[in-house]
Symmetry: C2
């Protein structure tokens, strides 16, 4: 199963077409793509909102349609624990369960086991951990991760990996996790059966250029349908992240498969990673900052807890098409936030997801017109009134 | 200002037409009505959802339109404290603030002062109380209540009253509160200026038939646009409540104004009060039970915390037109509830409000066809599979 013979695209559960490759002048590695899945088509680069518990927090599927969301990510770890993958399978699969008819990508659970499990022990066999919900003990192997994702019935599954725990980036640990991730990836490929579900591999290797390169070569040699770039600890600098991406994407330059950078969500970070050649993204950031009262605008961020917004009759963002901006003032939203009203969280999340969705559409439009490098320069220019979007984390 | 000369209907801010009066056979006092306000028309009998903080909890105005809500109630006490009635006035009034273009009724704040204020002292001048939000000290007089409601710009304002505190129903206290309520009502009528806003009086008198009768006569003699029946302590039996209603409605039989029973929300209670001759209702009940995981169905109530629903692929209620029932299973809703996901509260509230709205429409349809007494018998019949709706509190 380490063969590089990838089956013809028409027999795979997804197809990925690069509509516009990066320009020959080397001004960017960004590319415009088109991904076909069993539940519909996706224009890339694309941002995927996270629906941890089979719901994008505070939103329903019609809200997601209104935003223009093309694909969502659901968390295998959470759904395995509650309500259980077998229950979801009996109820017709994840799409029917949550009434979302467009594509779904499931992660492998590896990241959550490391970050949420109260107790965990990793060996070559897999991960043993305690549920963060009730302390119950669970074993999670590569084969188990695939079985769970096949039961959920996502359009794209992801191999089980061993992410490097944040703030623990010793080279030896990174190397060991990488080797184990490769072995687990092979086992996931062997275990995977579902013909209507794609499987993505995950590149690890931390911030070590030689390990990143090795991991990229090993994962790319496997018959997976796409390449995830994992192993972000979340505490690396933008320059460090870009350097790691450049190692991977250089090696993948002629690879026909989509590239997915896991866990990145701010507009500035997305712009940079698209420039580095990434096609897919996910993050809880738009919903998480909304819960803190923060909304994105072209000039940066607004925190609606600020008292000055209590008398502000303007919408969050003039001209924004979202439900919050169409009907409500900053004053009303600031009131809802202070009163801890549920409607605030829905409206603020709708705005942030609309902002990011429209930002990605703007990136795709620039790519289609050959003007992406200019967009990057414009958004980074200090004199631009959109500077903040370019610089804001 | 104690004159009984009510101005001609066409000069009043609202008009109320009784489309079908109670039948001559005395089988019911229920009646079909039509209320016109500055923000639209209302078919009665009508249930008004409560939007305490200028939002019906978890819902937006489009949700309310989808349910078919004709009019909502907002709480003067809450909006006076936060964000402040003067702020709302500066922002264009309550309709614009919350983007609700249909009618709004505001209560007077009297009930909340009694039930929520941390400290309160009542004298003839008004109420002194401490905010439940920050402990700040406030004076609330009849004139102040009217000024706040005029600033909010509701379609229907309500006079300040002194409700009898729950479990304190000594006749002398009830009588004193009633006399004070009458004096305050006169002051509210004198203070009220806004020509596009109706003003309703409030009948008090607890469960004392002679006091109820006296209060009904006094309030009905004032040039108010509608009659609220207040003073429910919430701990009276259904029979006690019906007896008090019968005293009021008998005296109001030839009165052309709408009758509004404050704070009643279960289907069985509404059916009985419509039968007693009431036109308008409000309650937080549909949203409050939704937050506990409880939804209404024709057979009674379901609590979605029950484990049996985790595997139930059926909707809450077969054939229900609401957003929850159109797309989602009981299993999914039970999962969302256990995961404490915000979407649950929106969907469960939408279902309960749709259930109650459709129940009121069914009552109006029965009234229009002269079949209301039959509907009451059917829903109360023990052999009916809808028994629970008739009996459930």
């Amino acid at each position: 199963m380490t063969s590089v013979d990838v089956a013809p695209a028409r027999q795979r559960p997804i197809t990925f077409d690069i509509l516009l490759p990066p320009p020959a002048d080397g001004s960017t590695r960004a590319r415009l793509g088109h991904l076909r899945t069993a539940h519909g088509e996706i224009q890339t680069p694309v941002f995927m909102p996270v629906g941890t518990n089979a719901t994008v927090k505070a939103l329903d599927p019609d809200d997601l349609d209104e935003v223009g969301v093309q694909i969502i990510l659901c968390n295998t770890y959470h759904l395995y624990l509650r309500p259980g993958h077998e229950r979801i399978e009996r109820l017709g699969g994840l799409h029917q369960f949550m009434a979302w008819r467009r594509p779904i990508l499931t992660d492998s659970g590896g990241y959550q086991v490391v970050s949420l499990g109260d107790f965990r022990s990793v060996d070559d066999e897999g991960v043993t951990f305690r549920s963060h919900l009730d302390g119950s003990l669970h074993n999670f192997s590569p084969e188990q991760s695939i079985a769970v994702q096949e039961a959920l019935g996502s359009d794209i599954a992801v191999v089980l990996d061993q992410p490097v725990p944040p703030h623990s980036s010793g080279r030896r640990e990174v190397a060991e996790a990488m080797v184990r991730t490769h072995a687990w990836a092979e086992r996931c490929v062997s275990a995977h059966r579902r013909p209507d579900q794609a499987l993505f591999g995950i590149v690890q290797g931390g911030l070590e250029p030689d390990l990143r390169a090795e991991s990229t070569r090993v994962i790319a040699s496997m018959p997976v349908d796409g390449i995830c770039i994992g192993g972000r600890a979340g505490d690396e600098s933008a320059a460090q992240r870009r350097a790691a991406l450049d190692v991977c994407v250089t090696l993948l330059a002629d690879d026909p498969r989509p590239r997915y950078l896991m866990g990145l969500g701010s507009p500035a970070d997305l712009l940079d990673a698209v420039d580095a050649g990434i096609d897919m993204f996910d993050s809880v950031l738009p919903a998480r900052i909304a819960r803190n009262g923060t909304v994105w605008v072209p000039e940066g961020r607004l925190n609606l807890r600020n008292t000055r917004f209590l008398d502000d009759p303007a919408p969050i963002q003039q001209g924004c098409r979202c439900r919050a901006c169409r009907s409500f003032s900053r004053a009303y939203l600031a009131h809802l936030l202070r009163a801890d009203e549920l409607l605030f969280y829905r409206l603020a999340t709708l705005h942030n997801l609309t902002f990011l969705t429209d930002f990605m559409a703007r990136i795709r439009m620039a790519l289609a017109k050959g003007k992406f490098p200019r967009l990057v320069r414009e958004l980074a220019a200090p004199q631009s009134n959109q500077m903040a979007m370019g610089l804001e984390a």
